[in-house]
């Protein structure tokens, strides 16, 4: 009986969307919009890769999704509640349910690994526990387990800035595990590590996420990784979605249009104008292309 609500939720088409974006836009000052009219539905348990050239608006989109940046217009609906109407307390509660992994530099280097991992608990701890933990670490067992899961069991007491870039990214992963969020966002999590390691970290992220039934949205520079590990791929360019489909549906032409041939010279190329004038495919507004993730494999 206790399982019933969860099951029915998963079945029904609309509430299964953990995250819904409606015409989301962000403009900084008077510049061209960084993100422009994005409409997107994300189902529970989906693993989504966002690819696109640098400057496409990926980071802006992520900062809006993890509620660090208010959108200029449009709405974000997380688990059924519109984010814009939340008070500070509710805002914290929603933030707790969204875990974030950034490109780099987002750990507190001078703290020990332990505290960076435990900071995943800050959304749940009352303030006095948070302060106490800095002196006398709480939930140590959980932190150690999370570090073990990412293969850093022996670094618990190391100072974070003494670790390598790849290790720091694993620490960020462990923190998100400890946060136990429903939705995990990762913004270019492997941009600053070497390819071999990038593969490992993305695989770890997707595997751990699947095991725990999390929803993942990961932006990647590396198309191969996106196609290999994710159930859905979004193309983002100039702040707009250019395609949204399963990895096996992505064609070289779509990628060529996404990355535009002559962007090397900067600015908006002729080709890009052409691409936005005649979009490769209609912008999806529902979970049209959704395929249940292969959790049983």
């Amino acid at each position: 009986m206790s399982q019933a609500p969860a099951t029915s939720q998963a079945m029904s088409g609309t509430t299964a969307c953990i995250l819904r974006l409606h015409l989301l836009s962000k403009r900084f000052g008077s510049q061209q919009a960084a993100v422009q009219g994005i409409t997107l539905n994300v189902r529970r348990g989906e693993t989504i890769a966002v690819i696109g050239p640098s400057g496409a608006g990926k980071t802006t989109l992520f900062r809006m999704l993890n509620l660090s940046l208010p959108p200029t217009s449009g709405s974000i609906i997380f688990a059924g509640s519109p984010v814009a109407s939340l008070g500070p307390k509710q805002l914290r509660a929603v933030r707790r349910r969204i875990g974030s992994i950034y490109q780099q530099h987002h750990l507190v280097g001078r703290l020990r690994v332990l505290h960076n991992v435990l900071s995943g608990r800050l959304g749940r701890w009352p303030t006095w526990r948070a302060l106490l933990s800095l002196v006398y670490p709480l939930d140590l067992g959980d932190a150690a387990a999370a570090l073990r899961a990412v293969g850093l069991a022996d670094k618990l007491y190391e100072r974070t800035d003494h670790l390598s870039g790849g290790q720091q990214q694993r620490v960020a992963l462990a923190r998100v595990l400890l946060q136990d969020a429903d939705l995990i966002l990762a913004d270019e999590p492997v941009a600053s590590v070497d390819p071999q390691l990038a593969d490992e970290i993305v695989e770890l992220l997707v595997t751990l996420g699947r095991e725990a039934g999390k929803t993942l949205i990961v932006s990647l520079h590396h198309v191969g990784l996106a196609l290999r590990y994710f159930s859905r791929v979004l193309g983002l360019r100039d702040g707009e979605i250019t395609f949204d489909c399963r990895p096996d549906e992505v064609t070289p032409l779509m990628l060529a249009e996404l990355y535009g041939g002559d962007r090397v010279f900067g600015g908006r190329s002729r080709q890009a104008d052409h691409a936005s004038a005649a979009p490769a495919m209609p912008l999806p507004t529902t979970c049209l292309h959704f395929q249940p993730p292969a959790t049983a494999t």
Partner: protein, 282 residues
């Protein structure tokens, strides 16, 4: 002369000459105002006085009796500087927290919440107040503070402690606020995105980043406080300064020399201590 239009990169402007002229006029005015007369330095009488003074400083008075008598004032100077710094740190922290923009209304921690709540003004007012107070505390030199406090609470070390506490509290408060504003914002954003509260973000994100800078600067100020406490004594705030003033008034210049050497010694020791702490903090 007609080449000006040909060279758009370097339009002819009278301004450089104007500035030079202004600078010269200011210099001349300042020269007159300060009654500069370099020849006075070489006038026989002045030279004799100065040489008498400098000559009188040697040899420094190193008699055991004098040194023993000066031990008390020396310790008082150390105590005065430490007590003053503790007060300054408290005042500095109390004012830095409202005076740091990133804690009140700007930066990653407020992107979402404030825009919606429209409590912007409520956050800005304490900020403006704290900044104004910090400027006021900083603008008045510690010696003037000392004079005011001597009038207010009487002679002794107490006004010295208050003077250092208030004057350096203003300096520390400004620097602390700048350090807090200067920490890397990305870790704060991450912490906030885990749902952490304000205080938790402060303790996990801001404190670890800001602490080394704040400690290092505080130690540097301690060094200055020791130097200052030598001067504060002149107006009756106790310590070595008072002895220097006394010895000067009695024309015991060799004692002045000894006392000055004591101050250098103290400053050198402070310097060593802060260098050691800084190395550890890295």
């Amino acid at each position: 002369m007609s080449s000006a239009p040909l060279d758009p990169q370097h339009p002819r402007q009278p301004l450089p000459y104007l500035k030079l002229l202004l600078a010269l006029v200011a210099f001349g005015a300042a020269w007159r105002l300060t009654e500069m007369q370099p020849s006075a330095l070489f006038a026989a009488e002045g030279r004799r006085n100065m040489l008498a003074f400098i000559g009188g400083m040697f040899p420094p008075d190193l008699s055991v009796d004098f040194l023993q008598r000066m031990l008390g004032p020396l310790l008082t100077t150390i105590q005065l500087s430490i007590a003053g710094m503790v007060l300054a740190i408290l005042i500095g922290l109390a004012l830095a927290l409202p005076a740091a923009r990133t804690l009140r209304f700007a930066g990653v921690l407020h992107e979402v919440a404030l825009r919606r709540r429209r409590r912007w003004l409520l956050a800005v007012l304490p900020y403006a107040g704290a900044r104004g107070l910090l400027n006021l505390l900083r603008a008045v030199p510690e010696l003037v503070w000392a004079l005011i406090f001597v009038r207010a609470v009487g002679l002794g070390a107490f006004p010295g402690v208050l003077a250092i506490g208030v004057a350096y509290g203003g300096i520390l408060g400004k620097i602390y606020a700048e350090i807090i504003e200067g920490v890397a914002p990305q870790p704060l954003e991450t912490l906030q995105s885990t749902g952490a509260g304000k205080l938790a973000v402060f303790c996990y994100g801001i404190v670890p980043q800001a602490l080394p800078h704040a400690v290092s600067y505080t130690l540097y100020r301690w060094e200055c406080a020791i130097r200052a406490s030598a001067v504060l004594g002149f107006v009756g705030a106790g310590g070595i300064g008072q002895e220097i003033e006394l010895s000067m008034r009695m024309f015991n210049f060799h004692e002045v020399m000894t006392l000055l050497m004591m101050v250098f010694g103290l400053v050198a020791i402070t310097d060593l201590i802060s260098a050691a702490v800084r190395r550890r903090l890295r």
